[in-house]
Subunit: 576 residues, 2 copies
């Protein structure tokens, strides 16, 4: 392609609403434009990269034996009511009533629709296993879209669904997908890490997340220092903290703390530290109340609480808390509440405290000298001590120090089990004519996130540094000046590279060299060939890798061969 013919509106200024490099650079390099909050139009350069990612994903999915389908993006809400996920997704799922009064959703994913279809077609074990995938538009009505395409409302997802006869077959499909994902991200030039993950609202029994480590990622991944363990923050387990030596603390003492509700405010008021506080939270599960205790400096992990409680939980509303504690929100504490709730779940960190400060269950009052085991139970039928918090710096797991990195989740694989097949009646008869629900897995890749994370991982102050496999072009020819020889040489190399199958952009614009160099760096095309009057006079052109500082002079005759070799080498680095 010729730059002069392409629609590449680059921008010098950093867009005001773009907080992170990938968002800034996708606007600045003319890859996309904002249409509305969380909705972006991909421009030609951006779509070239997106289509390259899609092709890699499609090739590797096909190689794994998965078969491509295409499911409607608009789906009747009934399907989602059958699985119960219309409630789980809540406001995040966009809905509309059609002209005949039927309610539809804009699907954020397609477990229900694919299982519904499969349920009508599967009858025998002989048809299993199979794995169906699609690459399509998805929608989530994000409360706060941000970071460009990393948290956008509209996005392209590759979602796959395997239908298996049993757990063993699911394990094989899961492994197949796991391997395909490794190939996909490798080929896309991404240094991914895989970690154990929680399944979240999708449900199921096992999950891995593929994450691209980078400073601005929204996800936190946790790894043991010796590499023996890795998980995302939602999943990462921690060792119990050592029991603090018993101290000679006196009786509980009530302190008047008027209007002082937050941990920070209480600490300041009572001259204590967050790690000496017992944060008391009230959850609900159906009509049951569950008391949750963690240290003031820790964050609760609701996935872990759900597992410890062994049921779905949600934070109690203000009314419930007031009724239970007899106080305004902000003054709850465990003392005296054991008999009033159906379960108390206590984090190991709290159980290990010698004493602490907590709410008095009385508006505007806290209490100190609260001793776990003395002033509230650590044992009993409705008491459970468990790991229910997020890991933090200093934690260990299996005795190994845990390290933390931020990253962008680009893919996740899930063992779903029978959650959807049982709810949507997806059954088969085995060899003996006995009926079973299918065992399922599902496997997602955020296509747009692959682009954004490649940019987060590959950029400098001048612009993007693309991996060759997903760069909008492999080579840019920068023709400097309008000297006849420069023009004809540029055209010649451009034509030769095109003929040799290189994806090449010829910067034939009527612009100064400086402008062209700046744009070339901003666009981030892996290899630049500069053709200028001066070096041409010596029979040379300049060749420079975007990711390296130094350039090299090459004889004009060798230029095309050299470019082809370099691109081949760059591609080989990403071969699987």
């Amino acid at each position: 392609m010729r730059y002069s013919q392409m629609f590449i509106p680059t921008v010098k200024q950093i867009p005001a609403d773009a907080e992170i490099p990938s968002h800034q650079l996708m606007i600045r390099a003319g890859l996309m434009r904002k249409l509305a909050s969380g909705m972006y139009t991909y421009l030609p350069l951006g779509l070239r990269s997106l289509n390259k990612v899609i092709n890699i994903v499609r090739e590797e999915m096909n190689r794994s034996g998965a078969q491509e389908i295409l499911v409607p993006s608009v789906q009747p809400v009934d399907l989602w009511q059958k699985s119960g996920r219309d409630l789980d997704y809540g406001e995040t799922m966009a809905r509309f009533t059609d002209r005949h009064g039927r309610e539809n959703v804009l699907s954020p994913t397609a477990e229900e629709a694919v299982t519904y279809m499969a349920a009508n077609e599967i009858s025998s074990y002989k048809q299993l296993p199979f794995n169906l995938y699609q690459i399509s538009f998805k929608f989530r009505d994000e409360f706060r879209p941000r970071f460009g395409v990393l948290r956008s409302k509209e996005f392209i997802m590759k979602d796959a669904y395997s239908f298996n006869a049993d757990e063993k077959s699911l394990d094989e499909s899961y492994k197949e997908m796991y391997n395909a994902y490794c190939r996909i991200f490798k080929r896309c030039g991404l240094d991914y890490v895989t970690v154990q993950a929680e399944s979240g609202e999708i449900g199921g029994s096992g999950s891995h997340q593929f994450t691209i480590p980078c400073e601005n990622g929204e996800d936190v991944i946790v790894q043991a220092e010796d590499g023996s363990y890795s998980a995302n923050l939602e999943k990462a387990a921690v060792d119990p903290l050592p029991k603090q030596p018993a101290a000679d603390v006196g009786e509980i003492e009530q302190v008047h703390t008027p209007g002082v509700g937050s941990i920070e405010a209480v600490c300041e008021f009572m001259k204590t530290k967050p790690e000496q506080m017992i944060k008391t939270l009230v959850y609900k599960s159906g009509g049951d109340k569950i008391l949750v205790l963690i240290r003031g400096d820790h964050d609760v992990n609701e996935e872990k609480i759900g597992l410890a409680a062994d049921r779905n939980i949600e934070l109690a509303d203000e009314g419930t808390i007031k009724e239970l504690t007899g106080a305004e929100v902000g003054f709850a504490g465990p003392v005296g509440l054991a008999d009033k709730v159906s379960q108390i779940i206590i984090d190991h960190g709290v159980a290990a405290m010698s004493s602490g400060v907590t709410g008095a269950n009385k508006t505007d009052y806290h209490i100190r000298n609260v001793v776990p085991g003395r002033d509230f139970p650590l044992e009993g039928e409705n008491v459970k001590i468990a790991d229910i918090r997020n890991a933090v710096e200093g934690d260990t797991y299996n005795g190994k120090k845990l390290l933390f990195r931020r990253g962008i989740e680009v893919g996740q694989v899930f063992k779903l089990g029978k959650k959807y097949s049982s709810k949507l009646g997806c059954k088969f008869l085995d060899e003996n004519g006995k009926e079973h629900f299918c065992t399922m897995g599902c496997y997602g890749i955020g296509i747009n996130r692959v682009i954004a994370s490649a940019i987060e991982a590959g950029n400098d102050k001048d612009g993007i540094i693309w991996p060759v496999s997903i760069a909008p072009f492999e080579v840019i020819i920068t023709a400097v000046g309008d000297d006849d020889k420069v023009v004809s040489t540029s055209e010649k190399i451009y034509n030769e590279l095109n003929q040799r199958g290189i994806d090449v952009l010829l910067d034939d614009r009527d612009e100064r060299g400086g402008v062209k160099f700046k744009d070339a760096d901003l666009l981030g095309i892996p290899l630049r060939i500069t053709i200028g009057k001066k070096s041409l006079a010596n029979g040379n052109v300049e060749v420079k890798l975007r990711r390296e500082k130094k350039s090299e002079n090459i004889s004009l005759e060798a230029a095309a061969d050299k470019a082809v070799d370099i691109i081949k080498r760059l591609k080989n680095e990403l071969r699987v």
Copy 2:
């Protein structure tokens, strides 16, 4: 691919809700399944064809110099309010309010969003012309979805938008697209016709429609017998009918026609024929009333009325009609109304009548012996005689007999002019620094309709007959029986064809030959190679084109070469 590994759920029975062959066969051959009314899941075989169409469209759009982008499918309603099309589309456009209370639409097309984006980027004539296209999900809340993917709610459209400096440049872009469409449909194996078309709600000054003639098409195309003229029914012009000889008709005579409103009922009651009746319709334009007269046996063409009136028109409501005529709906007539309306538009057919029957403007009464020019004006400032009806059998245009064919519209190109650029502020400065709105064109292809119309045009009682370019596979190898030699020969030819770049399906299922032949015919793959014990004993395999009755025995050694040759020949037929 191996049939045994693919998800191809074929069906013997014709689905109850499938009225036409393409719909029936897309279900029966396992190309798709219904998710809900007007929404279909494409299965692996169907998506293979769909992706082949997409690739052809993409290649030819790129060849034309158009650049691919991707616009959000969900768009803020404000954009559509700016163009006024939120009203034009009415209930056909699905809308939803997001969690922050903002109204969005599911875009049925993208003129607004693309023009909005371009408006922010275009400043100079130097950037023009360019042509942006996308291939993406679209949604229309059809009142009555039917005919499978031909009138579905959700579909994939290729939509392109050219931005030009002036009409001359638009003409060039339009021609470029017109030619690209010819190449696309040729390559897809479709025998298309192009006709002049009306622009409809998209607006603009010129349009052509690409139509695939077939019995079950919803569109009607009209062609002069000598090929000198062709248009769709909305556009097709007709010559005025010859003036009927003046007859000696008496005075107007009033007839009591209690409760007799429809043309048919009046004819029966009054012993007359529809062609002797003057149908009187009332339209509105803003506050103005417009009287429209056509013969009882003709259908009004609202596009033509709009052009004759030179403004937007809509059918008047009951109240307006009653107020104007002083009678219930069904008894309107032109006599005495000339001064009460702002315009009377009379079809040539009515002007040519010697006398007729019409409503009396009095509930339950009609009048006969109504003479045009005597009893209502044929001349005057507010009278216009024009072509405002649909062409019918027997009509001529420029003296040539008009022929009618049904067909499926697969593409349409439009000269939009400045409709969208002026409403969305898409401007540029010319060489002299003077500001202009961009002149635009838009160009659509219904990707799913390409599939359906190929099937409508290519099928027989046994199944689909695919064009080679968009068939899910090019060759099917039918292995009959489980004889070792049959299996090993099938595998050998399968591997060889795969290696030689042929898209081949090996029917390796454990099924009887009869079942495999039936499925091969149903699936419609262009070339079948049958490998059976008996012919193998003679060193032969059987080769058969799906579109031909006869098969041919080929020596085993020559089989792969022969298959490659045949596929090459079939592809050559579709070369552009």
